[in-house]
């Protein structure tokens, strides 16, 4: 068979790869050979230089897939869990601690001590505490080197600033920010003075504001022990400013999706990173440090990609080669190549003057805006690293909870209308206080022993209940099926091996790919599962913590809502559609094809398409506005519409394919029945009730059971639409499980959740199986 030939071919290829003497290093972030944007071209040259210097090392790409709305880490973690980890791992500040704590990345001390000149000398001092940390062995080590240092800043649209009569520079402090924004607003309704990110990463800009106010999102309370601190008075000021900019004075445009070039033309200011190069065309956009807040600092964030070595590299030669690569791409020679490539490409104007000077391109300084260097230095001086402590992976997301609550708060809206500043601050402080407490419990996870004891008891009960349910149901079904089997009478096989030979492939595959993984997966629920370090048995603790996690219950509520909407709106649409398509005398095929159209677009694309339509400026809001509604927010961000916007695309795409089975069933109703009832004088409704409904009833019931089970999933789609927001309203259980497992690396609790949800669905599945066994199956003629 073709598959085996392919398999053989690949084995040969792999074998050929092994036969070579070169050391293979698998790295992430190799520039694609097909990419030709300036940054990739520069990176290609860096890699070419490395290859030239190290002919014995072969670099292989080890990138996973990129998922929108989520960082690339899910794929990295899959690779690590699967034992095909990259040798050189890219880490974000916020996730670095998880990698270090779980022993995924190795200390670099031995390499650093032998390196001719210390690579640490050129690392900005703010980044040192991020890469030098206490590891699982209790000692402090250096775990990685930063690739390119980035500092967040405020870009401003030169053209709009000119039109608004503003000076050609970014605002220096909050007062100026507001002032500039108001002047930009006077340019007309199409101009958005400020752009802010909404959705799962809306914490990014907020973090800059909190720090500018003199506060911080987290503070270090002990050695590598962190606590949420976004309920400080400084943070209240930052949140208040955010409120003022968005809801209060409507100066900012919020959107989850990145701006297109077209949209950027009508945006006055936006927060973004700047590093060796500016991120946006310097012809059109100027750069400044983040405006100073009441804290008197700029509050810029310093960030970088950290390259680290995978701890599981066993071959010393490979480890050495991986280090050489890491050292080279983070080193000065690589920087020189990057800068000179960009200069050669005629892009000197986007390069940081400091870098131009460093590598001897002074003659191009005239091309760079004069304020670039000064503003960059200021931003860098005040900058603090992105949070890098324990479980910080989702810190931006943690910040979105109080942010969404604040934006949605009716109390705050009233206080704003009344101009009562004390009440505004009071309400914000209350929201922040609650959110910080929850974040603390989740992130630090410190629970008193007696509480834990109580939780374990509850968990024991729940686990026993799950076991009993599964056991009971198993026995019940077994008996039920055995009863059916008894009706079969004497077995006919007569000991022939034929049926068993026929069953072998299916049975073998099912045991191997369904049952074995289930058993292995279940074990995880009782462990503190570690990817690299040995896992420890924790008994029922995972269940105990999940059961007392408010976010779990919140997700359950969201799941029920999602299921409710899907079932009430979505389930009956295909039935009605099928009936309508069946009734009409002409153009059946045309309509059938039209309704099937959405199903031909590949799965997730449907959701991306709808997300555009749900946008704040999307077509649906435009229609609503024509109808006189004040539709300002994207549907996916509006608390009343968010869940609906997750449900609608699925219904839209599912109606056509879903109606086919009912169409087939309707065709199967014998014509004579209708003729007979026609003679009896039955009308449309009477026929529907007495002929059509009875013949569809069984089908509807079976499908409904299936739809219930299916409606408990849908994580990918919600991830695309809302990412779980606003304020966790659409964070359904399957999405929460996904986050727990792949973003927080908490596989134990994730599996425990999956089991609890699974057992809730058990009843439906059993009912469905039981009914199925009582059915017989025919195709409609």
């Amino acid at each position: 068979m073709t598959a085996w030939r392919w398999l053989a071919l690949f084995l040969c290829l792999t074998a050929a790869g092994i036969a070579q003497e070169r050391v293979v290093v698998r790295v992430q972030g190799l520039p694609s050979e097909t990419a030709t944007d300036p940054a990739s071209l520069a990176e290609q040259k860096v890699i070419a230089a490395f290859r030239k210097a190290h002919p014995g090392v072969e670099l292989r790409p080890a990138d996973g897939l990129r998922i929108q709305n989520l960082n690339a880490e899910a794929a990295t973690i899959m690779m690590i869990a699967g034992g095909i980890a990259p040798d050189v791992i890219r880490m974000q500040f916020r996730s670095s601690d998880s990698y270090i704590r779980q022993g995924i990345v190795a200390p670099l001390d031995s390499f650093l001590s032998t390196a001719p000149e210390s690579p640490l000398a050129t690392v900005p001092p703010q980044i040192l505490p991020v890469i030098r940390k206490v590891g699982p062995d209790g000692e402090r080590h250096v775990y990685g080197l930063p690739l390119q240092t980035l500092v967040s800043g405020l870009y401003y649209n030169k053209e709009l600033f000119r039109r608004a009569g503003l000076p050609s520079r970014a605002p220096r402090d909050w007062a100026e920010l507001l002032d500039f924004a108001h002047k930009l607003k006077e340019l007309g309704p199409k101009v958005h003075p400020l752009f802010l990110t909404s959705g799962a990463s809306s914490g990014f800009e907020l973090m800059n504001l909190i720090r500018g106010a003199g506060g911080d999102a987290l503070c270090e309370i002990g050695p590598n022990e962190w606590e949420a601190a976004f309920d400080s008075p400084e943070a209240v000021e930052a949140f208040l400013l955010y409120y003022r900019l968005t809801r209060g004075e409507r100066l900012a445009h919020r959107q989850a999706r990145a701006l297109t070039m077209e949209e950027m033309e009508s945006v006055g200011m936006l927060f973004r990173y700047v590093g060796d190069t500016v991120a946006i065309d310097p012809e059109l956009w100027g750069f400044g440090a983040v405006p100073k807040g009441p804290g008197g600092v700029h509050g810029s964030e310093i960030n970088a990609v950290i390259l680290a070595l995978y701890s599981g590299i066993s071959d010393p030669a490979r480890r050495e080669a991986a280090w050489e690569y890491l050292r080279f791409v983070t080193g000065p020679e690589a920087d020189r190549i990057r800068i000179s490539t960009l200069v050669e490409l005629g892009l000197a104007g986007i390069i940081n003057p400091a870098s131009l000077r460093q590598f001897g391109f002074e003659e191009y300084l005239v091309l760079t805006p004069p304020e670039f260097e000064r503003e960059f230095a200021q931003a860098l001086a005040d900058s603090k690293p992105e949070p890098y402590g324990r479980n910080c992976n989702l810190i931006y997301q943690e910040l979105t909870y109080p942010l969404d609550q604040m934006l949605l708060s009716p109390t705050l809206r009233e206080a704003w209308a009344a101009g009562d500043e004390a009440a505004q601050r009071g309400e914000i402080a209350a929201i922040l206080h609650r959110a910080a407490r929850q974040t603390n419990e989740r992130m630090i996870g410190h629970i008193p022993p007696e509480t834990m004891e109580h939780r374990r008891k509850v968990a024991l009960g729940v686990v026993l209940a799950i076991l009993a349910a599964f056991g009971g149901v198993g026995v019940y079904l077994w008996r039920h099926f055995a009863k059916a089997a008894a009706k079969l009478g004497r077995p006919v096989s007569g000991g022939s091996p034929v049926p068993w030979l026929c069953l072998l492939p299916a049975l073998g595959l099912t045991l191997l790919w369904n049952y074995l993984p289930l058993a292995r997966g279940t074990a995880i629920a009782f462990f503190d599962h570690q990817i690299v370090l040995p896992s420890t048995f924790v008994g029922l603790d995972n269940f105990a913590n999940v059961l007392f996690d408010p976010r779990f219950w919140n997700s359950l509520l969201a799941t029920l809502q999602f299921a409710g909407w899907t079932l009430t709106l979505g389930f009956f649409v295909p039935i009605a559609l099928a009936y309508a398509l069946h009734l009409i005398p002409r153009q059946k095929i045309l309509y059938r094809t039209l309704y099937y159209l959405p199903a031909v677009i590949s799965g997730t694309a449907v959701f991306f398409l709808w997300k555009e339509l749900f946008n704040a400026e999307g077509i649906l809001n435009q229609i609503l506005r024509l109808g006189g509604f004040a539709a300002e927010h994207a549907w996916t961000e509006d608390p009343r519409l968010a869940m609906l916007s997750c449900v609608i695309p699925g219904i839209w795409a599912g109606a056509g394919p879903g109606c086919l089975i009912y169409l087939a069933a309707l065709k199967g109703i014998p014509e004579e029945q209708f003729e007979a009832s026609e003679i009896d004088g039955a009308g449309f409704w009477s026929k529907t009730r007495h002929i059509v409904y009875p013949s569809l009833r069984t089908l509807i019931f079976i499908n409904f059971m299936g739809a219930v089970a299916a409606s408990f999933h849908g994580a990918t789609n919600i991830l695309i639409m809302t990412g779980g927001g606003p304020n966790g309203m659409t964070e359904v259980s399957s999405l929460l499980i996904f986050f727990e497992a792949f973003a927080r690396l908490r596989f134990g609790p994730a599996t425990a959740m999956a089991w609890i949800i699974g057992s809730l669905l058990l009843g439906f599945t059993v009912l469905q199986l039981k009914r199925l066994s009582e059915m017989e199956f025919k195709t409609a003629r």
């Binding site: 073709t2 392919w6 398999l7 690949f10 050979e33 990419a35 990129r66 899959m78 869990a81 030169k158 070039m261 077209e262 490409l345 005629g346 000197a348 003659e363 005239v366 091309l367 077994w478 089997a485 006919v492 049926p499 026929c502 069953l503 492939p505 299916a506 099912t510 790919w513 289930l518 292995r520 559609l577 009734l583 009409i584 309509y591 039209l594 159209l597 031909v600 677009i601 590949s602 398409l609 109606a655 086919l660 089975i661 169409l663 065709k667 209708f674 026929k687 089908l699 999933h713 399957s734 599996t751 999956a754 699974g758 199986l769 199925l772 009582e774 059915m775 017989e776 199956f777 409609a780």
Partner: protein, 562 residues
């Protein structure tokens, strides 16, 4: 039919029909409208210009915007240089430019063929993820030369291109370092000389850059600051002269521009300068950047050569290259052709980059076939065994298969991945096919269906001495074609559309299917290209549905109470 022909004509039934048609039509509009938006979006040629597309099909102003954006590579800087206007945006000239300067320019070109290095190539985007006319023509030309072998090309040119669709012309610029020669650059210049029509090119216009880009950046966007500094009275930067040798007005700016910015190979040395360079013993470029005095320099770009010629032969003062008029003439002559190019270029790009790239098409076919054959065979065999042989364990086995439907997917995801890795199946079709092959529900349906097949057929076949395998094929499978067709269709849809797991389980690009490539394309390409890719990928599924809907409807299995 629910109604017989006579009642069908009654008023009530007609009203009912009208109502149904109305509802269906409204629904159909909501089904088709997003598609319409997608199609419209996929026809949009550029990322920046133009609103609700494809307006360029009807409105000349939109066509102009797209044309200019495409010609000047989406870079305002180049456009402003070529048109010599400081604040120009991609838009049509307000009125048709005068034709006198055109005649002069044509006369000059007729007498002096322009050297290749003084000309820039239009319609060539530096990003491979953006469709552009010159890039594609260059790629096709290279394909022909090398017999479509990218390895041969890379060996010949010392390049590292991964695919033909990723090849972009070498970068050139008016400012910066003189670009080193390379086999690839030489080849592109060959191509440009022989295959790029003159109207798709523009001049590296030093004067234009100086006036429209350099001075506003150096001195300030308003002409007032220039006037203040040099005591002049210009009304716009366009009027500022840029002579071949150092001027009296803004001599320092001219000096900075020629010594620091302009590519050294665009600058010549006067005899005195040449002598001094010789005595210093340094190269041309180094001398200009570090030692030259402005008085020793002459600008040798085409705009200066032309202006000096015009002055010497026709007595015209400060002649400029009439690029706006040239563009006007070029577009007026080829509107229909450009509309067609813009209309199709996103689709051509997707075809090049996805459908005909590497193994994508073959992988997709293999995966789809394996999946269909595998699903049908494995599940039917199991159902056949359960149906034909009334084993004592029949229901136990059915329960084993069906129970998998109740397994929480999140629990099994990671272990499945681990197992594939342990068995060494990652990056094989087996990884994509095996774990999802058995479907409890399919086995259950098939068994139910096989049960309803007449038993006598098997008995007759047995008497005729038919073997088990023959009976399975000739009776069971043969009589179940419609239901098997439905299962094949759903296997097709899931194998064809799968990209998430395809990507995790087969990270090697050589194993990627069309969908995985599309997914990757979506990460870098602009919305118009993404829409084009979605429409193209939808076509196979749509064709299968349109052609097979009758069979599908016959094959759908419906449960009825026993």
């Amino acid at each position: 039919m629910i109604f017989c022909p006579i009642t069908e004509r009654s008023l009530r039934v007609r009203l009912l029909y009208t109502a149904i048609y109305l509802c269906l039509s409204i629904g159909a509009v909501t089904m088709v409208a997003p598609f319409g938006l997608m199609v419209a979006g996929s026809l949009k040629p550029g990322a920046r210009s133009g609103g609700a597309s494809p307006a360029y099909l009807f409105r000349d102003s939109a066509l102009w915007a797209h044309y200019l954006e495409a010609k000047y590579r989406g870079r305002t800087e180049l456009f402003r240089m070529a048109w010599s206007e400081a604040n120009a945006e991609f838009a049509a000239p307000p009125q048709a430019p005068a034709s006198t300067p055109l005649a002069l320019w044509d006369a000059y070109l007729a007498a002096h063929p322009a050297p290749e290095r003084l000309l820039a190539v239009g319609f060539s985007d530096g990003r491979a993820s953006t469709p552009s006319a010159t890039n594609r023509a260059f790629q096709q030309w290279l394909r022909q030369r090398t017999g479509s072998s990218i390895t041969k090309l890379n060996a010949e040119l010392e390049t590292t291109f991964g695919a033909f669709h990723a090849i972009v012309p070498p970068n050139t610029s008016l400012v910066g370092a003189a670009l080193p020669a390379s086999p690839f650059r030489d080849l592109f210049e060959d191509f440009a000389r022989t295959h790029v029509p003159p109207q798709q090119r523009f001049v590296w216009d030093a004067g234009g850059y100086y006036r429209a880009v350099f001075l506003p950046r150096l001195i300030g966007p308003e002409i007032a600051s220039f006037n203040r500094k040099y005591g002049t009275a210009y009304t716009s930067y366009t009027e500022v002269p840029f002579p071949t040798t150092v001027p009296t007005v803004a001599a320092d700016a001219w000096g900075t521009f020629t010594t620091r910015m302009l590519r050294p190979d665009f600058v010549e040395l006067t005899p005195e300068g040449e002598a001094r360079r010789h005595s210093l013993g340094i190269g041309h470029g180094e001398f200009i950047r570090h030692s030259a005095r402005p008085a020793e320099l002459r600008v040798a770009t085409l705009d200066r050569l032309f202006a000096d010629w015009a002055h010497a032969t026709h007595g015209v003062e400060d002649a400029r290259i009439p690029q706006a008029a040239l563009d006007h003439r070029a577009l007026e002559a080829g509107k229909a052709a450009w509309r067609w190019t813009f209309l199709t270029q996103n689709y051509r790009y997707v075809l090049d980059a996805v459908f005909f790239y590497g193994n994508a098409f073959r992988n997709t076919v293999i995966l789809v076939v394996l999946m269909i054959v595998g699903t049908l065979l494995v599940n039917s065999l199991a159902a056949y065994a359960l149906s034909r042989y009334k084993l004592r364990q029949t229901y136990a086995l059915l329960l084993i298969f069906l129970a998998t439907l109740a397994f929480p997917g999140e629990v099994t995801m990671i272990p499945v991945f681990l197992q594939l890795k342990e068995l060494g199946l990652l990056n094989t079709f087996a990884a994509l096919v095996l774990p999802g092959l058995v479907n409890g529900f399919s086995i259950f349906l098939l068994k139910g269906f096989f049960d309803s097949l007449p038993r006598e057929l098997y008995e007759a076949a047995e008497i005729d001495g038919a073997g088990e395998w023959r009976m399975f094929w000739l009776i069971t499978m043969n009589l179940s074609k419609p239901i098997l067709a439905v299962m094949a269709l759903s296997a097709f849809v899931s194998a064809y559309g799968a990209f998430f797991y395809a990507l995790i389980l087969a990270p090697d690009p050589r194993m990627w299917t069309i969908m995985v490539h599309i997914y990757q394309l979506q990460q870098s390409a602009g919305t118009p290209v993404i829409y084009a890719s979605l429409i193209l990928t939808a076509i196979p599924t749509l064709l299968v549905f349109i052609l097979c809907q009758k069979i599908i409807l016959r094959g759908i299995v419906i449960p009825t109470e026993k």
